[in-house]
């Protein structure tokens, strides 16, 4: 089994408040400390003073590339903070995104990509894997 990560703080960023509420309840239930931010700006404000142990970002926030920009921002701040990007393959913006190729991954700099709706067990597994590294 994984090391105990109960003292670890996760930053969850998404502009869907329902998703955010649910992630918070579920991740706290799984034993993590959770900080949520509704969008890129709020997350950046939090990051000015704090350093999470891991970040979970939605790809599409109010700005179309909010997730990318934030991932880049976090990695610049501290490359050792693992970043998980979750995304609904998005037809809303008229584009389809699925970061599967190595090229895309290296460009976005996130450590893991999960498609929405995310299976919670899978998410926890990814979180633990990245925190163990």
């Amino acid at each position: 089994m994984d090391k105990n990560h109960s003292n670890k703080t996760l930053l969850v960023v998404d502009d869907d408040i329902d998703y955010l509420t649910q992630m918070k309840v579920n991740l706290i239930d799984a034993g993590f400390n959770v900080v949520t931010a509704e969008g890129q700006k709020k997350a950046e404000e939090y990051l000015e003073q704090n350093k999470p142990d891991l970040a979970i970002l939605d790809l599409m926030m109010e700005e179309m590339d909010g997730g990318f920009a934030l991932s880049y921002h976090i990695k610049k701040l501290d490359p050792s903070i693992p970043v998980i990007i979750v995304s609904a393959v998005n037809s809303e913006a008229g584009i389809e995104f699925d970061a599967v190729t190595k090229e895309e991954r290296s460009w976005i700099k996130a450590d893991a990509f999960l498609a929405k709706p995310v299976r919670f067990e899978q998410l926890v597994r990814e979180i633990n894997r990245l925190l163990n590294q």
Binding site: D18, Q22, V25, D29, E38, K41, A88, S91, E92, K116
Partner: protein, 376 residues
């Protein structure tokens, strides 16, 4: 320039050369088509050569001699028109008999040319074929674009319908696993959010039905003289509970009846969308002012609010389907993203339009102008 590939099949060298010469230099124009239309001309001496050329590089227009030494023009026609294609064939015949023409057309020829013909007669016949071809292409392109728009609409719709389900599903899961303990009170905010999302979904479905009815033209429109002021008052009353909850004052500045020949249901949809938006995007304690201004042949319905307003770039995309202005101030406000698209569609039915002026943090004013004396 649009180039139409043209293949001339004739065993007479003189005929091949003169047709090629006439068409190669020929440039035509069509109304509604920006590009000029020209012809790339290739020739074949025999039916066998023609079939080879058609197989390797299918022409748009085929000029086919009826009487060829080997395989005949009619045989070629039969062979090439059996395939799915937009190629048009013109039969060239020395014997301008009715039977030949009828047979050729039966076999799928678009037209025929009787030898001897002048360059002008040739150009005239080829022009007709070109017009038909270009038109067919445009129709095809338009249908494709329409399919594309439809497809996009449905994928966004799917997303918009799935999103509340995912959210409700997530809350139910938390409750089922009692992640916040055994006290139901802990879950109350979640239950409230479920109600909000269900309400949003219901509104989306209602709006969708409205939109579909308007677009299909199947909604029975009952045009008669109706009093817009009365409809506006009725709509205000319906929206009053929503406004009172946030201490918002609504005032209708028109009091005497103002008549318009129209469908009461459609006008109500317009009023309801504008007034409920003016409340939703307002500030607590704000105002909503409704004006109904008759002009010469038009009536203006204007709704002004003292709400959060919009930037110029937000205004620009406002009337598209499923557009919801997303920012910090709007994130808690629910909506289907179809309301204003519906208002615009209805306004167009009344030879009218919708306009908006807005200033962030000051308010917005939506104005719908409608033809007051619509007859159909």
């Amino acid at each position: 320039m649009i180039k139409l590939n043209t293949l001339v099949v004739d065993d007479e060298l003189g005929m091949r050369l003169s047709v090629k010469r006439a068409l190669s230099k020929f440039v035509m124009q069509l109304p509604d088509v920006d590009d000029e239309i020209g012809f790339d001309v290739d020739v074949a001496e025999t039916g066998e050569e023609a079939l080879d050329k058609i197989k390797s590089n299918r022409p748009d227009i085929l000029l086919l001699d009826y009487k060829l030494p080997g395989i005949s023009g009619l045989d070629i026609l039969e062979k090439v028109t059996s395939q799915e294609s937009e190629m048009l064939s013109i039969m060239i015949t020395a014997y301008a008999s009715i039977e030949t023409a009828v047979t050729a057309v039966k076999q799928g020829a678009f037209d025929f040319l009787a030898k001897p013909f002048t360059p002008d007669e040739l150009k005239n016949t080829v022009s007709k074929a070109a017009r038909r071809l270009i038109l067919a292409r445009q129709v095809k392109k338009l249908a494709q674009e329409r399919r594309q728009v439809r497809f996009q609409f449905i994928s966004v719709l799917g997303h918009e319908l799935k999103s509340p389900l995912n959210s409700i599903d997530g809350y139910l899961d938390i409750m089922k696993q009692k992640k916040l303990g055994g006290d139901i009170a802990s879950y109350e905010p979640m239950i409230d959010r479920c109600t909000v999302r269900i309400e949003g979904m219901r509104k989306l479905i209602m709006d969708l039905l409205d939109l579909t009815r308007i677009e299909s033209g199947q909604k029975k429109r009952e045009l008669k003289e109706i009093d817009i002021v009365e409809i506006a008052n009725h709509t205000i009353e319906t929206n009053l509970p929503l406004a009172e909850k946030r201490d918002i004052t609504i005032e209708n500045h028109a009091s005497d009846p103002i008549y318009l020949n129209g469908d009461a249901n459609e006008i109500e949809i317009i009023c309801n969308n504008l007034i409920s938006n003016a409340i939703k995007y307002n500030v607590d304690g704000g105002r909503v002012d409704v004006y109904i201004n008759p002009a010469d042949r038009q009536i203006e319905i204007a709704v002004a609010d003292t709400g959060i307003g919009m930037s110029e770039s937000e205004v620009a995309k406002l009337f598209n389907e499923f557009v919801r202005i997303k920012n910090d101030k709007t994130k808690a406000i629910t909506g289907s993203g179809l309301g204003l698209a519906i208002v615009k569609k209805i306004a167009l039915l009344y030879n009218g339009d919708v306009s908006v002026s807005s200033e962030p943090n000051v308010g917005s004013r939506f104005s719908v102008k409608l033809d007051s004396n619509l007859t159909k």
